[in-house]
Structure formats: structure tokens, C-alpha cells
């Protein structure tokens, strides 16, 4: 029996100001299973700057409709804005609300309220290490703190699909490890959870994901496509398995693919 598909893009085309940005992006992410463990999916999307990664995430989040093609989630359901978590590349927050109120707001908007929501917000702030900053306004946060607040805001309401646009950029090693751990933990909260991460950090990508998708533009132009999908489970290095030599080999392979 084939494993069910939890996220799918079929021939997605997007143009911006008359030029093709995405020229037929297609991929299927299948439900991963592992003996004796709840296992979600972590997908990393790699690609050069300006290739269309953010554009693709916006389509997956239901923010922009593709000009052609379609994206679907678990059991072929359409992806609708509000049902998909998305942490934007520049971490916007609501400026007139404190960090804690930003997190609470996300719950209120999805119908949560009362002590349960308050407790959830405090738990998340503790998880991303922002307890001391809970009553500060976004303008008072550092870049990294802003990012963690934006992530906490997206986690208040559990959703099957969470998209993160460059969550690893500008982090120190400890923060990077912390965010990586959080991403994996969120994915593994439910079998059908999928986290999609856009990143330039190949090493970090290999540490957290089970699938790597490389976007690139063909020689003849016409917008970005998937130029390679790497199944890290099949290569034996997903979920912390495999040795460092194998990991380093794949890292070199991907880096070459990205720079060629």
C-alpha cells in the first residue's frame, strides 16, 4: 500500500510583473512512518536567492493563488489561508501588542479563549525562551527574539502544515540548535504534521529534515522548477541516523548542485 500524500504541488506556475517566477513546481510529500514513534514530516526547500522560494511558500500558505497548477494538503484538501502556519522571512508582528498579546491574539482569532489559551501562550513563550520578554513590544526585541516570538505566534493553534521562511538565518549555534529541536518536535506532535523550511543552510537542513527539495531555474529560463528531490530516509541519514561521513557526502553533493 502506498503511504498517503500529506502535501502536494502540481505544476505550480506563478508570474510576477509579467515574468515567470515559478515555472511548473511539482512535488509530493508522503506520510513518513517509523516503528514505535509518532513521526511527522520535515521538508527543506533549498535554492539560490531570488529563485522563488518565498513565492512558493505564499502559494502553499493559501495567500496567493497560483496562475496555473494546484497545491493540496492532507487527503487532497485545498490549502486555505488561516489553516496553514507561516513564519515570514522578516517576522512581522502586531506592533501595538506585547509579545504575549501577539501570541494570545493568534489563539483568539481561531476561537480560543480563557485560561486555556493563557496557559498555552505562557507554555509557548517558555518553549521559545521569551518569558522575560513577554511584556515587551515588538520594537523592543532583538532580531532573534522577534523571530522566536513569530514562531510562538504560529504555534498557538496546532495546524497540520507549518511553513518557515529562513528560520535559521542570523542565529548563533545555540539558538540554531534550539530552533531545529523545536521544528522537529512540532513535526512529531502528529503523524500528519508537516513542517516546510526554506533555508540556505545545507548542514542545518540535513540535520532536521527527511526530504530536501532543490529549486532552480533551467538553462532556458521560464521560472523555477524542482531540479532534485532527495529522500534522506532512503539515504539513511534522516532522524539522526547514519554517520557523519554519509552526511558530509550528501552535504557536498547538494552544495555542488546549488553552486553549479
Amino acid at each position: 500500500m502506498n503511504a498517503p500524500i500529506v502535501l502536494s504541488a502540481k505544476d505550480v506556475h506563478v508570474s510576477r510583473s509579467g515574468t515567470a517566477v515559478l515555472g511548473g513546481v511539482s512535488f509530493d510529500i508522503v506520510d513518513r512512518t517509523r516503528e514505535g514513534a509518532v513521526t511527522g514530516q520535515v521538508v527543506c526547500i533549498l535554492g539560490p536567492s531570488g529563485v522563488g522560494k518565498t513565492t512558493l511558500l505564499r502559494v502553499l500558505a493559501g495567500l496567493d493563488a497560483p496562475d496555473a497548477g494546484a497545491v493540496t494538503g492532507v487527503a487532497g484538501a485545498p490549502l486555505v489561508a488561516g489553516d496553514v502556519g507561516l513564519v515570514f522571512q522578516d517576522y512581522p508582528l502586531i506592533a501595538h501588542r506585547t509579545v504575549r498579546d501577539n501570541v494570545v491574539l493568534a489563539g483568539t482569532l481561531r476561537g480560543l479563549s480563557g485560561p486555556k489559551l493563557e496557559a498555552r501562550a505562557d507554555e509557548l513563550l517558555a518553549r521559545v525562551g521569551l518569558v522575560a520578554q513577554a511584556s515587551l513590544f515588538p520594537a523592543q526585541l532583538s532580531g532573534g527574539q522577534r523571530q522566536r516570538a513569530a514562531i510562538a505566534q504560529q504555534l498557538v493553534v496546532p495546524r497540520r502544515l507549518l511553513l518557515l521562511d529562513e528560520p535559521f538565518s542570523g542565529l548563533d549555534p545555540a539558538a540554531l540548535a534550539g530552533i531545529s529541536e523545536l521544528v522537529v518536535a512540532v513535526a512529531n506532535e502528529h503523524d500528519l504534521n508537516t513542517v516546510v523550511i526554506v533555508t540556505h543552510d545545507v548542514r542545518a537542513a540535513l540535520r532536521v529534515s527527511d526530504t530536501v527539495i532543490i529549486l532552480g531555474r533551467g538553462a532556458k529560463g521560464g521560472g523555477a522548477r524542482v531540479i532534485e528531490t532527495i529522500d534522506l530516509c532512503a539515504r539513511g541519514i534522516a532522524w539522526g541516523e547514519g554517520d557523519d561521513a554519509a552526511r558530509a557526502r550528501i552535504e557536498r553533493e547538494i552544495t555542488e548542485r546549488l553552486t553549479s
Binding site: 488561516g82 502556519g85 502586531i94 501595538h96 491574539l105 493568534a106 482569532l109 513590544f137 515588538p138 523592543q140
Partner: protein
């Protein structure tokens, strides 16, 4: 002390020093006024004398109250109208209407006195209508621009969080721009205040500082005229201070961004 004369170094000056600089400039201005060789203006002591005469015998208090009541009424009506109109720029079909209304600011008040008198029958209604028109055309322009400049990212964030359009309207447009909107209203009150003596001169039945000013002017009581102008200036500054305090209380995050404290 050296950094006090270096450009861009304002942040390094203690607040007490800034106040001392302000006080020094005021003292300098008053001394220049008192010692001015050309006597076009009445001196400080004459103006002070006129001020106390107007207050104790001339009924300056009640007239001042009239004027402040007028600006308050005009501000409330103008803000309610303008914000309602300006926020509707978010609806594409209403955009041309907003643009059109904001163009009316080039019309000016003078030509409107006659039609407005016919429409509002003179008196209090006319004064409020003139002020509201004069203030609103500018306020609509400013607030519509504030709404236009809301970053796309904030609207996208609200969509990702699953907010309804009404909730986005409240959170991002109304509450999210409150600091800038209050700032615009504050500028607008200043504009209304600068027009108020003129408007009160057009319809003098209810009195007010403007009517009083014209009366004193007619009798060439220069000291009295300058005393009333001083009151206009002082009360205008007080109102501005009050609006600033309201803004700081409602939008504490704005000051944090500005001063980085």
C-alpha cells in the same frame, strides 16, 4: 556642554539641559521685546496689564470657554467624519470618493461662507460647519495616506492567523495606526485652532476669543489685542500638550520605537 552645539547629538543632552536651553531662549526673546528700540509692539508690562484687565473685567474667561468648546466640538465632528471616510479607502469602490473629498481642501473657506450660511443658518452651526470643513479635508487626506501606507506584511500576517476582514480592519487599520492617526488629529486641531479666531469673527453672536479680538482691534487697543493673541497661543500649546499626552497613554509602543529607551 560642547555636544550641545554639535549637530545630531541631541540624544546625548540631558533633559534638564534641553529645558534650560528653552528657558534661556524665552528669556532672550522677552528681553529683546522689552528693550526693542522701535515701538511697534506694546511692551510686556502693558500686555500683562491688559491681560489682567480683560480677565477680571472684560469677561475673557467665558469667551475663552466658548472658543475651547467650539474647537472641541469641531474636532470631534471632524474626526468622526474624516476617519470614517478615510478608512473606507480600503474598499476599492469607495477610493475615488475619498480622493475627491480630499481634493476639496484646495477650495479654501472664503467661498464657502455664503453657501454655508444658507445651509446652516449662521450662528453656532455655521462656525462648526466651517471649521469641520476646513479641518476634515486635510484630515481625510492624511488618514487616507496613513491607511495606504500600512505594510502589506501586516495584512498578510492577519490572513495567515485566520482573521476575518472585520477583525483585520480593527487590528491593523484602526488600532494599528492609532498612533499615527492621533498625530494627524493633533496636527488638525492645531490647524483648526489657527482658523478659529477668523471663523469666530465671521459670526460674532456667540462671542469667543475671535469676536473679542475684532472688538479690541476696532478700538485700536493694541495691548489688549496682543494679550488675547498671547492667550490664543498659550491655550493652543496646552491643547497640543494634552493631545500628546493622550497619544503617549494610548500608544506606549510608539515612544519606545522613537526614543529606543
Amino acid at each position: 556642554m560642547v555636544s550641545a552645539v554639535v549637530p545630531f547629538d541631541a540624544k546625548r543632552i540631558p533633559r534638564a539641559h534641553t529645558l534650560a536651553f528653552a528657558a534661556a531662549w524665552i528669556v532672550l526673546a522677552v528681553v529683546a521685546w522689552a528693550l526693542a528700540p522701535v515701538r511697534t509692539l506694546p511692551g510686556p508690562s502693558e500686555v500683562l496689564g491688559a491681560l489682567s484687565r480683560l480677565w477680571w473685567e472684560g469677561g475673557l474667561g467665558p469667551e475663552l470657554f466658548q472658543t475651547v468648546r467650539l474647537i472641541a466640538e469641531a474636532t470631534l465632528v471632524s474626526a468622526a467624519l474624516s476617519l470614517g471616510v478615510a478608512w473606507s479607502v480600503t474598499v476599492p469602490a469607495l477610493r475615488p470618493l475619498v480622493r475627491g473629498l480630499s481634493k476639496l481642501r484646495f477650495l479654501g473657506l472664503t467661498g464657502l461662507v455664503f453657501p454655508f450660511t444658507l445651509a446652516f443658518g449662521g450662528g453656532h452651526g455655521l462656525k462648526v460647519a466651517l471649521l469641520v470643513f476646513g479641518m476634515s479635508t486635510f484630515l481625510v487626506t492624511q488618514v487616507a495616506r496613513i491607511v495606504d501606507e500600512i505594510p502589506r506584511a501586516e495584512l498578510d500576517l492577519m490572513r495567515v492567523l485566520g482573521a476575518s476582514r472585520a477583525r483585520t480592519m480593527w487590528e491593523v487599520v484602526v488600532r494599528g495606526t492609532l498612533d499615527k492617526t492621533l498625530d494627524a488629529v493633533r496636527q488638525n486641531v492645531a490647524m483648526g485652532w489657527s482658523m478659529i479666531t477668523m471663523v469666530e469673527g465671521i459670526s460674532r453672536a456667540e462671542g469667543g476669543l475671535g469676536a473679542m479680538l475684532l472688538n479690541q482691534n476696532k478700538h485700536f487697543k493694541l495691548a489688549e489685542v496682543y494679550a488675547i493673541l498671547a492667550v490664543v497661543l498659550a491655550v493652543g500649546l496646552l491643547i497640543d500638550l494634552g493631545m500628546g499626552a493622550l497619544e503617549a497613554a494610548l500608544c506606549p509602543h510608539t515612544r519606545l520605537t522613537r526614543s529606543q529607551s
